[in-house]
């Protein structure tokens, strides 16, 4: 599915580079369910952003479905991303001005999907996540767990092959967390590749592989 070769990421702080990721080599096969763990500030989110093409690596090569992402232009990369990846944020990142329905619909609009088709797809996912009753509410009118659900629904609406989730259960109570993990498990069974960042051993256990990050390096 994807392969990272010698990926590094640094920021220039006060004139000299501070490494956040150092020489990361990692490959993930289709159908895997990977959990990334590590202490706060170890670079988990950064790694996930690079996999999700939201951010560039400072150095190294990234292949996604046999394509050399690091050589692609912004436009092509965006196209690739739209087609294949769904992203769930730690802080939900819903658009406050849009309703639940519109939030979920947005990725489809950017993929130029016809209105009638969009309607069917959104209705489908609202149903599946059991949030039909909430579709006309605004994000501020939802609880944290409900917002996270909407965030996941939005990430899945375009039927991505790869789901990247940054602490999807971080703000939820354990029961809600469990429900989401069950959902992921089910998705993975349906063939979606999943990479999640988590602090919880229990949630990590849902995955088929665990990667530990420490100070920007993968611990073997």
């Amino acid at each position: 599915m994807l392969e990272l070769k010698h990926i590094s990421k640094w920021y220039n702080v006060g004139g000299k580079p501070t490494f956040i990721l150092k020489d990361i080599n990692l490959s993930i096969q289709p159908g895997e369910f990977v959990s990334i763990m590590g202490p706060s500030g170890s670079g988990k989110s950064t790694l996930l952003h690079i996999m999700g093409m939201l951010d560039d690596a400072s150095e190294g090569e990234y292949y996604f479905m046999e394509q050399a992402v690091h050589t692609l232009k912004e436009k092509q990369r965006s196209h690739l991303y739209k087609q294949h990846i769904g992203f769930v944020f730690q802080a939900y990142h819903l658009i406050d001005e849009l309703t639940v329905y519109e939030n979920i619909e947005t990725p489809l609009i950017y993929q130029n999907i016809k209105s009638s088709e969009r309607k069917a797809l959104v209705a489908d996912i609202l149903d599946r996540f059991n949030i039909v009753g909430k579709k006309d509410l605004f994000p501020t009118q939802l609880s944290g767990g409900q917002q996270q659900l909407v965030g996941i629904a939005r990430a899945l609406i375009a039927k991505p092959q790869l789901l990247l989730a940054d602490e999807p259960t971080g703000n939820l109570n354990s029961k809600q967390g469990e429900e989401i993990m069950e959902l992921f498990k089910q998705l993975n069974d349906d063939g979606v590749t999943i990479v999640q960042v988590t602090h919880s051993e229990k949630n990590a256990a849902y995955g088929s592989r665990i990667i530990n990050l420490l100070d920007g390096r993968i611990e073997q």
Binding site: I95, D96, E97, T106, Y110, Q111, T140, R154
Partner: protein, 806 residues
């Protein structure tokens, strides 16, 4: 307490530097513009008010229609003033000016200087107008013939001292004794005069009630109702004017004259109205125009308002950022009115800083503004006691005006809502703010349309087929100086290479001499067959030199000795004479001693040409062959005009030694007729640009703010796959909608006002649709460029960075 307000206000200004700069720049520009225009308006309104008896002084205007042509005169007949004083006790005094003889050549050493600001006046001048003397006694100064009163600067110019009483001045060959030196006539007087000569030296056919050649002013006794007094004029007309006309015309009274579709009407015009409300033939100088005062004032207020709108918009937009402060203050128990005060102090401080900068800008721009408005305003005018207090109050007024809405808006926040963060949505969608942006852009679009229409009309004037050819025509003034040598001079010039033809006539289709005369279609003169028309004396080469086109018959020719009793008329006159071929028909004038009709045979009809400004319809005109040599015009055809002019000057000095050589080009003279319109164009353009800049400044601030507010949303949308283009569109579309709405308001208003402006011109353009298209597109492009900088910046931002800041 106030100290605390000031401290917080200052900190806020510093903290939000970008917004403060935008606010202050915009306000300063608006205020500078306001100050300049205030100076202008005050100056325009001050005309002639320096006269102590200004409220009792009136000029007599005459409105005459005889056979179609309407004449609006600033002059009246010479006996009218004295007769009114004799017959009506309400008239305390009268004074007449005579300026029809034009400029004079005044001798200084062995040089002659052409002095344009000269007039003859009755000795009563100084009883009516307030013109204090420095030397001599103005009460008796003009009692005798060959006397002259001069101004202080004229005295200095000719005698190097102001005390010139008793000295002799030679003007147009006549010696005059200086009997008094007066202070320079104030700039804001509707007449300018450096020399005031005795009326006794005017060569004039005195005593005719039918010729209107003198400006006449009445000083009415205190308490006289001037509107009531005007009603006596009909009685005056029947008693004197009609009585005199009866000598050669079949007429019994004014009513009969009017029934035939004619008009003779006298009216009084208050002295202080002359400068702004009078645009008649034979004015004492170029007057102002109340329209321009209105337009200028409106523009000043609008620009100031636009600047204030920026202020309000940015302050309310920023309110979300300040909401927390408000919330905390409220929770701490601050009363609402104290919050309002805090915000007002902030906006007053801002506008105070802006005012100081504005005064600086105004001083810097004054020279440019002077040339724009054709004025000599000085910075000293700002210290005028009528402006100064206002100038000090202005920052407070503007501060309150611009600050009150944000103050009320911000202080009304509910603390809980604010602290819960519910406010941001509301702050993003403010109807009031949108309305303000619409107002700004509507104004800009209005001004742009106005500018385009004015310039189009000016271009139309330039390119209009005038019926004569104004290009490459050199006009020599004062050819009358040459006396009998004028024809010889013309022949000499024609010998020069590059000169293809020439004509001797002071009657030209640009400002020059005019002469009107009453003609009749019948051998008798009565109100029905009479027609007042321009009567020009020309020579046989006139048509060729000016490129006039003949539609019937022929022009004058040296080969036809009988042409001295012939006339060439224009199409307007031809239509009055009769339809179809009018060659051979006769028209009559009554200028002979015994008023017997003199028949003149029509030998040609020239195509109508615009001998007056395009503001006027082409009136009736007839030309006669003769020798009136006030000016000479030459059609030239050379690439080196300057060297040709030098050669002409050489010939001139040889034939008229010591006499100043004055020349001009016909196309220049023509363009000068539209100086006022050109000025309106420049003003509209300048203020359109100014308004657009200020509005854009505001829009830029708003866009900055919006982009800032929507950083997170933009980040998410990018993550969800939005393209840069899509984001830019998203951010710009709201502003574009506002611009579109502005257009809907501005276009009809501009159409209506510009239509009215064009009414001034008898010959005018239609306002075509593309003018609106251009203005609309321009507004959209400008708004887009302004907004897109921020939009693109936001769209290009790394979404991960944007989202991290949450």
């Amino acid at each position: 307490m106030i100290q605390n307000f000031l401290k917080v206000a200052w900190r806020n200004l510093i903290k939000n530097r970008t917004f403060s700069i935008i606010n202050i720049t915009g306000l300063a520009a608006g205020l500078a513009c306001f100050i300049l225009i205030a100076l202008y308006v005050i100056d325009e309104l001050s005309y002639d008010r320096f006269n102590e008896k200004a409220d009792r002084i009136f000029r007599i205007n005459a409105d005459i229609r005889f056979g179609g042509a309407d004449l609006k005169l600033a002059t009246t007949s010479d006996p009218m003033g004295p007769t009114l004083k004799k017959d009506y006790p309400q008239v305390e005094e009268f004074v007449r000016f005579y300026t029809a003889s034009g400029s004079k050549q005044v001798k200084k050493g062995d040089q002659y200087i052409v002095e344009a600001d000269v007039m003859h006046a009755d000795s009563t001048l100084f009883n009516v107008f307030t013109l204090p003397a420095l030397h001599g006694d103005t009460r008796t100064a003009l009692n005798e013939p060959n006397t002259v009163v001069i101004t202080a600067s004229t005295a200095k110019k000719y005698f190097a001292t102001t005390d010139a009483v008793g000295k002799i001045i030679e003007a147009d060959g006549t010696p005059y004794k200086v009997t008094a030196v007066i202070r320079d006539i104030p700039r804001n007087s509707h007449f300018k005069a450096d020399f005031i000569f005795s009326m006794d030296n005017v060569h004039y056919d005195w005593g005719s009630y039918l010729s209107h050649n003198l400006q006449t002013y009445l000083l009415l006794k205190p308490g006289t109702d001037w509107k009531e007094f005007q009603k006596n004029f009909r009685q005056f007309i029947d008693k004197y004017v009609v009585a005199q006309a009866r000598q050669f015309m079949d007429i019994s009274n004014l009513d009969e004259f009017e029934r035939a579709g004619n008009k003779l009407e006298y009216s009084l015009m208050p002295l202080t109205d002359i400068h702004l409300h009078s645009d008649r033939l034979s004015e004492m100088g170029v007057n102002g125009n109340i329209q321009y005062v209105y337009v200028f004032s409106a523009v000043a207020l609008i620009v100031l308002l636009i600047a204030c709108v920026n202020f309000m918009n940015l302050s309310t937009a920023r309110s979300a950022n300040r909401a927390r402060e408000v919330g905390i203050r409220k929770v701490l128990g601050t009363a609402r009115d104290s919050l309002i005060k805090q915000f007002l102090v902030e906006s007053i401080v801002t506008s105070f800083i802006a005012s100081i900068i504005a005064v600086g800008i105004a001083i810097l721009l004054l020279p440019y503004f002077n040339s724009l408005a054709n004025k000599d305003l000085t910075v000293g005018g700002l210290l005028d006691m009528r402006i100064l207090p206002f100038l000090v109050l202005l920052p407070v007024i503007v501060g309150v005006m611009a600050g009150s809405y944000p103050a009320l808006y911000l202080s009304s926040f509910k603390p809980i809502a604010v602290l819960k963060g519910k406010l941001s949505t509301g702050a993003k969608k403010s109807t009031v703010r949108n309305a303000l942006v619409v107002f700004q852009f509507a104004t800009c679009i209005f001004l742009v349309i106005g500018t385009i229409v004015v310039y189009n009309q000016l271009r139309y004037i330039q390119s209009k087929k005038l019926g004569f050819n104004k290009d490459q025509v050199l006009i020599i003034d004062d050819v009358g100086e040459l006396g009998n040598n004028a024809a010889a001079f013309k022949n000499e010039i024609l010998k020069l290479s590059g000169v293809s033809s020439g004509t001797l006539s002071p009657f030209l289709p640009v400002p020059s001499w005019r002469n009107d005369n009453t003609m009749s279609r019948e051998p008798v003169l009565d109100p029905k067959s009479g027609m007042n028309m321009q009567t020009w004396t020309v020579d046989a080469d006139y048509a060729q030199t000016l490129g006039l086109e003949l539609v019937q018959g022929r022009f004058f020719s040296k080969d036809f000795p009988t042409d001295s009793a012939a006339v060439v008329i224009n199409e307007t006159t031809a239509a009055w004479v009769g339809s179809g071929n009018v060659i051979g028909k006769k028209i009559y004038n009554f200028e002979s001693q015994d008023n017997t009709p003199i028949p003149l045979t029509i030998i040609g009809v020239v195509k109508n040409f615009h001998y007056e400004s395009l503001k006027q319809q082409i009136g009736p005109l007839m030309m006669r062959l003769g020798k009136v040599t006030g000016m000479a015009s030459f059609k030239v055809n050379t690439s080196n005009i300057q060297s040709l002019v030098k050669e002409v000057e050489k010939k001139w000095t040889a034939m008229a030694p010591g006499r100043p050589f004055r020349y001009r080009f016909m196309d220049e003279s023509f363009n000068n007729m539209y100086n006022n319109e050109q000025r309106v164009g420049k003003i509209a353009f300048t203020f359109a640009v100014l308004a657009i800049i200020i509005a854009c400044l505001g829009l830029f601030g708003l866009a900055t703010y919006m982009a800032e507010q929507r950083t997170k949303e933009i980040g998410i949308r990018k993550v969800l796959g939005a393209s840069v283009q899509g984001i830019v569109q998203l951010l710009s579309i709201d502003f574009l909608k506002l611009v579109a709405i502005s257009f809907v308001f501005a276009a009809p208003a501009a159409w209506y006002f510009m239509k009215r402006w064009l009414q001034d011109f008898a010959y005018r353009i239609n306002i075509s649709w593309w003018v609106f298209a251009v203005a609309g597109v321009l507004a959209i492009v400008i708004a887009l460029v302004t907004v897109s900088y921020q939009a693109i910046k936001a769209a290009l931002a790394n979404p991960v960075q944007s989202l991290r800041t949450e």
